[in-house]
């Protein structure tokens, strides 16, 4: 019989590991609604994670780490913008270029800055921030109101991004571009400016998503720290049908799988020590693939998604 406390722990862990996925996929939603298929989000997260660590480590201030996370993420998405928006190059290849460049940059400078190429641990990190009174509520308080600031930020961002996309002039124009950039520009919408703005927003969210890995979750930096989270975020956007609420549901699904794979030994103590337990490491990726098969078939995204302007 699984204990109640274990389940509460699993639920809390689900939200905790869903946070980077949620922030990143909300960012990707904004970009994709504008027609930009940015697979470089993986690289933006990595650069965010690296610059957060560098910022926090060398200044001793987590807040400076937080700001540098945003700067790192935005730099990566703006470079994507130069390739895709300004030069009208292939979205997929440009995204891959950003990813490889980010992994090269972070690997090289980690080895330049730290002996043995191993980043040290940070003295402190952004820990849980229990909300007064609310965190005292049984179950819910522990699961929902004793999380880190990043979790709250992700959850609050869901309705905010939803309103941005559906209720503001910016959002309506951005979605018009996503459907048909050529017509949108005939109607007087500045496609280039709007798309850069969307990428700026995505960079901030992706940078935070990467940054929280170093300054709130793992306490150190490793070039493999992002794992496949950027690509999982892109999958979540598809599964969530380019809608922030759907994206929230998708992030929770993947957060749950990851939390489960991390805690499988705690949930099923009889399994711990068994060799098969190691296999659970691949569970999140397998679930992502299965989810794409089940829910990603022939879904229609924004009409101009991933298409070059010159080819339309």
């Amino acid at each position: 019989m699984i204990e109640w406390a274990v389940l509460i722990g699993l639920a809390a862990a689900t939200l905790r590991v869903a946070a980077p996925l949620l922030l990143a996929s909300l960012g990707e939603t904004i970009a994709e609604r504008g027609g930009l298929l940015n697979l470089g989000i993986q690289g933006a997260m990595l650069l965010g994670a690296f610059s957060a660590f560098i910022g926090a480590y060398f200044t001793g201030s987590l807040w400076i780490g937080l700001v540098s996370a945003i700067v790192g993420g935005v730099l990566a998405t703006l470079l994507f913008g130069v390739l895709v928006v300004s030069l009208d190059l292939d979205h997929v290849v440009s995204g891959l270029a950003i990813n490889l460049l980010a992994s090269g940059l972070t690997l090289y400078f980690t080895r330049v800055l730290f002996t043995g190429g191993v980043s040290p641990y940070l003295g402190e990190l952004f820990g849980p921030l229990p909300i007064p009174i609310l965190s005292q509520i049984p179950v819910l308080g522990e699961v929902l109101f004793s999380q880190t600031g990043f979790v709250y930020l992700g959850l609050i961002s869901v309705p905010l991004v939803y309103m941005l996309l559906t209720k503001t002039t910016f959002g309506i124009r951005l979605r018009a571009i996503g459907e048909d950039p050529v017509t949108a520009s005939y109607l007087g919408i500045n496609v280039v400016k709007m798309r850069y703005a969307a990428l700026f927003a995505e960079g901030m969210l992706a940078g935070l998503a990467g940054g929280l890995l170093t300054i709130s979750m793992f306490n150190t930096f490793d070039t493999r720290i992002v794992a496949a989270r950027g690509f999982v975020a892109v999958s979540i956007v598809i599964l969530g049908r380019w809608n922030p609420w759907g994206v929230l549901a998708g992030s929770l699904l993947f957060g749950f799988t990851e939390a489960l794979s991390l805690r499988i030994g705690i949930i099923f103590p009889e399994l711990s020590g068994a060799s098969t337990i190691q296999l659970f490491a691949l569970l999140p990726y397998l679930v992502a693939l299965v989810a794409l098969v089940a829910g990603g078939r022939r879904v229609r995204g924004p009409a101009s998604l991933g298409k070059r302007i010159g080819k339309q």
Partner: protein, 350 residues
């Protein structure tokens, strides 16, 4: 009658584009060297010496080139179809693992070698078949699925060499060694250069023929240039996408098992330092032309091996390889609009 070699304008453009991207990468790397207080000219000379300085270093560079070349020839075919297989790394590991199991199971001899190579290649194909089906039947972006399959594949191989196929006589998680009688033979005495390099080089004309002289190659190109036109012309677009993707998986698997049978002789977690990703840069730099891919894979292999010399002579960390790869990728992309700009300005005439 003149007997000179005629080079088409398209080929000339490709060559200029590749050289331009390499030049820009070297300039950008020089700037990084200067920031680190290292003389870039000296650094590149050391790098060159480290890659080609003597017969031993040269053969090590060719050994390094072998898996990169095999992987990127396959990727060139799928990229030509505009199918972005970024899962070669996982396909390589699965191929290496399955081939090794077969080689050990058969227990040595040329038959074991042949069976291992075939099974290894098929293992890679199998690992690409899932994403290929998902792309063709369900319309799911292959970039996402092939990348996710890397994690599934590599974790699976990690587990296999940690538990069911772990070597009983080593402390580290690694498979048992293949029987020495089934290894790829050394072709140059006193070096480690093995038959795999011959296999890789032999694949260059094969893939060239496939792309340039067969209807398959023609169809792949048409689908890559315009799926609508291909469909209109009666080409089964889905089938071409499927075949080109599993073909790149086939060669990725072959690259993995070749690396085992030729050099490593067992599967370790460190079997590939990212050959599957390097292959993407190589195919792009070689512009999906098998000959270009061959030259590009030699170049990347030289950077990899040269940088280890750089590490102990000038204290430049090995990460420089990844950084140069990333820069190269960006510059290959950006060189196309740059060339158009230079042509408009009349600076470049082709």
């Amino acid at each position: 009658m003149t007997n000179q070699l005629v080079i088409s304008r398209g080929t000339k453009r490709s060559i200029v584009r590749a050289l331009l991207s390499v030049a820009l990468t070297l300039v950008a790397t020089s700037i990084i060297f200067l920031i680190n207080n290292v003389n870039p000219f000296l650094a590149f000379i050391y790098m060159f010496q480290g890659a080609f300085g003597d017969i031993n270093l040269l053969s090590e560079t060719l050994i390094r080139m072998t898996p990169i070349l095999i992987v990127s020839l396959g990727l060139a075919v799928s990229f030509k179809c505009k199918i972005w297989n970024i899962g070669a790394e996982g396909q390589l590991y699965i191929g290496a693992m399955l081939g090794t199991i077969v080689a050990i199971g058969i227990g040595g001899g040329p038959l074991a070698l042949l069976a291992a190579l075939v099974v290894g290649a098929l293992g890679g194909l199998l690992w690409a078949a899932g994403p290929a089906l998902m792309k063709v039947k369900l319309g799911i972006n292959e970039v996402i699925t092939t990348f996710l399959m890397n994690f599934v594949g590599i974790y699976l191989v990690q587990w296999m060499i940690s538990y069911p196929f772990r070597s009983p006589d080593t402390l580290f998680p690694e498979s048992a060694a293949i029987p020495s009688t089934s290894a790829l033979a050394v072709i140059l005495p006193r070096t480690r250069l093995h038959l795999g390099v011959v296999l890789a080089l032999a694949l260059v004309p094969v893939v060239y023929f496939l792309l340039e002289r067969t209807t398959f190659g023609y169809k792949v190109k048409v689908v890559g240039e315009s799926p609508e036109a291909a469909r209109y012309g009666g080409i089964e677009v889905g089938r071409m996408i499927f075949v080109s993707l599993i073909f790149s998986g086939l060669l990725a698997g072959l690259a993995g098992i070749t690396e085992v049978m030729g050099i490593q002789h067992r599967v370790r977690g460190s079997l590939s330092p990212g050959y599957g990703y390097t292959g993407i840069v190589v195919a792009l730099l070689g512009q999906n032309n098998p000959l270009g891919v061959a030259l590009a894979s030699l170049f990347l292999a030289a950077i990899m091996n040269g940088s280890s010399t750089l590490a102990w002579t000038m204290n430049i960390p090995m990460g420089i390889v990844d950084l140069m790869q990333g820069l190269l990728f960006v510059f290959v992309l950006a060189s196309e609009p740059l060339m158009r700009f230079l042509e408009r300005r009349g600076v470049l005439k082709l």
